[in-house]
């Protein structure tokens, strides 16, 4: 029998959330959905509904006002799910780092699986990041089937799972930050 499981990752539906970004990255995300880069060939649909999406695209440095919504949206996504931080500011805070009204990066609140740096990110990087996210998605699906494995394989330091170390990094993080 041919392997049906490999088709699982062929339909990532994304939820795009703007956690206080400057809109530079949002435009790039839309550009990558538009005809030139055509993310839909991977089966990507921009659903806008957490309950039906698999990949959570977050842009922006997480302003104080948006963090509750961020967590709420994350909670409403059914497992397996992948969080992709798009843009430097959502990875680390970027140009907004250490400002009074932002939290530095998405991963302070929710576990991030893929970081896509760049200010603003280029559509190629977004596509690359998403495709890598698909790998993780598939892996997570497998993990969900064997819950025990989930505990064994994750790197655990003093009881705190450090997602930043296990996460995939796309390209190089901007040196300035």
């Amino acid at each position: 029998m041919f392997n049906l499981k490999k088709y699982r990752k062929k339909s990532p539906w994304i939820l795009h959330y703007n956690a206080g970004s400057c809109n530079g990255c949002d435009i790039e995300i839309l550009a990558s959905l538009a005809p030139k880069y055509d993310l839909e060939r991977f089966g990507v649909v921009n659903t806008g509904n957490p309950k039906q999406s698999d990949i959570f695209l977050v842009t922006g440095p997480v302003t104080l006002r948006s963090r509750e919504r961020l967590v709420e949206l994350y909670m409403q996504m059914p497992e397996p799910k992948v969080v992709v931080a798009v843009g430097s500011c959502s990875c680390t805070g970027g140009v907004f780092r250490d400002m009074y009204n932002v939290e530095d990066g998405v991963d302070r609140y929710i576990p991030v699986d893929v970081y896509i740096p760049g200010c603003a990110v280029s559509p190629e990087l977004i596509i690359d990041g998403l495709v890598q996210g698909l790998e993780i998605l598939e892996q997570k699906t497998k993990e969900m089937e064997k819950p025990l494995k989930l505990f064994k394989e994750s790197t655990c330091e003093e009881g705190i799972v450090n997602r930043r170390d296990t996460a995939l990094k796309v390209g190089k993080i901007d040196e300035k930050n």
Partner: protein, 586 residues
Amino acid sequence: MSIYSTLIAAPLLFAVLVFVGTRRVRDVLSAIFIVILGALSLSNIFSFNAPLEMSLPETFHVLFILIDVAVLAYFLWQGALLKHAYVIFFALVQILLYGAVMFLSPSIVSGDIFVDDISAVMLLVINIVGGIIIVYALEYIENEEFTSLKKNGFIAMLFFFLAVMNFIVCTNNIEIFFLLFELTTLCSYILIAYRGDALSRKNALQALWMNQIGGIAILAALIFSILQYDTVYFDVLIANSNPLYLLPIVLLAIAAFVKGASIPFDKWLLGAMVAPTPVSAILHSATMVKIAPYLMLKLAPAMSGFVSLTITLIGTFVFFSASLLALSKDYFKEILGLSTIALLGLMMALAAIGTPEAVTACLVLIVFHAISKALLFLQAGILEKNFHLKYVDDINGLVNHAPLVVFFIVIGFASLTLPPFGAFIAKFMAIESIAGEIIHNPLYAFALIFLALGSVFLTLLYFKVVTKLFAKDADVKSRHVEISKFYTIPSFLLVFLLLIGMYISFERAFLSSLEIVVPLVLIALIPALFSLLLFKKAHRVKEYNCGEKDDIQLSMYYFHMPRRVQITLTILATLGMWILLLGTIV
């Protein structure tokens, strides 16, 4: 014959008996009487083979004239007492016309009593559905604060109403028909004014003068019938009808429109809402308004192409506009009332088409509309008595408190629109028969549009209400409210009747068996799925709210209906009636 005299005399007798004995005795006696009435009407329809025709002795006629004079005098007195110009004026006109009728003496005579299969069906509806409503009323009226004499009077009035209705569908003599017509007007007047407050009086007077117009139309019809056809009997009139002299027929049809509360005359039925709910239930479902389609059915064979077309157009137009108007309402009983008006319009339209299929559709609609509306009004009463709810907007999430009431309401509404219930079949056949008429006369296409639009409006309306019931909050703890058995038993009986009705449509093969079974299975599937699927593994979550945590309050949506629209619709309907009248005269 004995069946019919019992059907008429027994409720009359009981209307008197009600006053003796305690409440208990009264309740038990009523139940027995109602069972007898129901059984009689049932046995009548099963043993029915040939139309029965017979005359009443002369003494009865004298008695009827006396009662008639008394009723008209009472109207005049009430008008004078309450200083209502319309009532006085119409009562005077009626007395004058009645005097004129008395002077004319027609020569062609026929039987006073005539019972055909249509009457048999009507008898069934009146006695069974009416009976169930009276059982309900027994309990309902006990929860009102009136003296026991007044309570007994209420029950007596309802029984009297049944007797009058039983008589009216058996009569063949237009004079007697007029008397009974006035008696129903009287009954409704007294019942609407029952509460005795200012609003009740006002609405009762409104109902009175509007129905008096119907009485005048009948009297005018009588005069023309005597002058042109030399008879006061329906069967003679219809058998000899001449397309050139259709005035009596059209006048009777207008009387039917008045009784059926068609659009220019719709105010009286809506005003009747102030009365105790069983009154609305009995007016809307089994009695009073059902005279309208019945009369139309009787007249249909005599109608010429023009008359039939105009009545069909008016009827479907009323169907369309009443359902449109209902969309902007949120008083539960008013919604029900407007939908009654709409469906009555449709029934009259169907009756006027007069093909066998249309007549069947009309009868099916009469029967099932009576059952469904009775069911819904009973629920409206329960909502008012047990939950103090009158407006649809307040019944939010009723499913948490009273699943049984919700079940009845949903069944009631579903049975008016969806397959495989009776009313659906009627609508289905209505479209078929109108489609059949379009082939002969393209103007029927307008009737079709009105019908199609109206039925969609009604669906919209019903489900606007039903969806309100379902709005279930996740957090609310279910708090069940006890509902008296005397309320639920009549409702269960009505649901049972609906099911029997479904069986009959199965028997008569209106639809293929597959077409009936599938929706039934679909509906049965819902509770089955509920018990099978427990969703143990699924996670319960909150609704998507854009990530906000605020609590939201959802209310019902309204359709804004400018007054302009309402006035335009009324004017158009009135115009239609004038066209009908003038067209016939010309």
